[in-house]
Amino acid sequence: MALRGNLRDFTITQLLNLINLARKTGTLVVDGPSDTAHLAFRDGKLAYAQIGKTVTGLAVILHNANKLSSGQYKAIQQRASNISDKELGLLLINAGYLTKEDILTQLQLYFAGIVHRLFTWVEGSFHFENEMLPPDDRISVRLDLENLIIEGSRQLREWEQLQDEIPSLDMALKFTDRPGVNLRNVNLSVEEWRVVSYINPKNTIKQIANATKMNDLEIRRIVYGLLQAGLVEICRPEGASPAPQVRVFPTEDRDEQKSLVNRLISRIRSL
């Protein structure tokens, strides 16, 4: 079903978050004001990225990253301009110029750079194509999205949106028990680590802010990043005296309360 919308309502970071959590495979197509971007994913990991129509070939990427000398680059342009990236990659590995890891690392950096450029897009529409995969002749990578999501979240500055995301600082935080997330593999800033060290269902966000000497905006921004990356979730503070209990049931008696709920259930069933 439809996975489409507008960048004004969904940031690129939020989309990456969705793709990461849902472990999606397919291509996110973003139509910006002047260019179209394609980000391809496999099982929730970035496989390939491209902005605009012209494809930047492997030779150019490696040359720009100083992994190929100008001489090598020229030679490739002259003698091997018609071969695919995959073939070129094999050639370079077999010739002993580069290792497979060198090539994959450079591509990852290049694709991550494209995602960084996308973070600055605020206008545009997007849609996700389940069937669309990177072109066959291109080399694809498997880049975890968590770090990109954290980096993207750091750029969210708008107070109003942060207020929406985290309306109450009286709630607490706990680590998600989502399998596959390992805090050690995520590049947290010093500030983020400080907050992380206080995460515990007993501490409200406000208390964490006090302990780390952060103002409302700073703490919201950091909590937002951690939420986006799926590392933590909001919960009610443990051990806090429950909110002054307004009368919910017309009776104090436990059994009567239960009977009342059961009566409600039968009545609704009979509607």
Binding site: L3, R8, P167, I234, P250, I265
Partner: protein
């Protein structure tokens, strides 16, 4: 006569009034107004300004009241008042309007902070062809797998019934947990 209440909340035009209308035995007492701003008018004609109010009589001495909150932010001073003493709440989300998902999440967090009562979230308007897949919405709304997130068509009574029942099952489960 004993009374209990549930609250139906969610962003502007999510289908709160429709939801209550589908099961209430009285005509829903709606405080609807014709919409003034052009942007909102593009979505619909009338909006709830204070609350909706529906009723289901259970038996001779028990009545369930359903309160719908106004969806527009400028009436959110009503939320806390309406949420007082609720047995549980339902957050409605319009599956066809991704631009409202962020607000839905914010409303959910706000209500969660008011009271530790059980709740369910409804992915409404699933009959429309541009509706988002509930699984995608679950991630965007950041609902963990323990939260009941149910597909819904507020115009269909059977769908509304099943959502109310799921909420009641959660309330019962919560009571049983509390006893241990």
């Amino acid at each position: 006569m004993q009374t209990v209440k549930m609250v139906v909340t969610g962003p502007f035009s999510a289908g709160k009034t429709e939801f209550i209308r589908s099961v209430s035995e009285i005509d829903v007492v709606s405080t609807e107004r014709k919409i003034s701003t052009a942007a909102e008018k593009a979505v619909k004609e009338a909006t709830t300004v204070a609350m909706d109010f529906g009723r289901i009589t259970v038996d001779d001495d028990l009545v369930l009241y359903l309160f719908g909150t106004p969806g527009q932010k400028r009436f959110d001073f009503m939320w806390e008042i309406l949420s007082e003493g609720m047995l549980g709440f339902i957050v409605m989300v319009d599956s066809t309007r991704p631009e409202t998902f962020r607000e839905a999440r914010s409303i959910l967090e706000t209500f969660r902070a008011y009271a530790p009562t059980p709740y369910v979230v409804a992915a409404n308007k699933q009959d429309k062809k541009d509706a988002w897949d509930p699984e995608d919405m679950r991630h965007v709304l950041r609902l963990d797998s323990k939260v009941k997130f149910l597909p819904c068509i507020a115009t269909e009574k059977s769908s509304v019934k099943s959502i109310l029942l799921e909420l009641l099952y959660s309330i019962l489960a919560e009571m049983e947990r509390g006893e241990k």
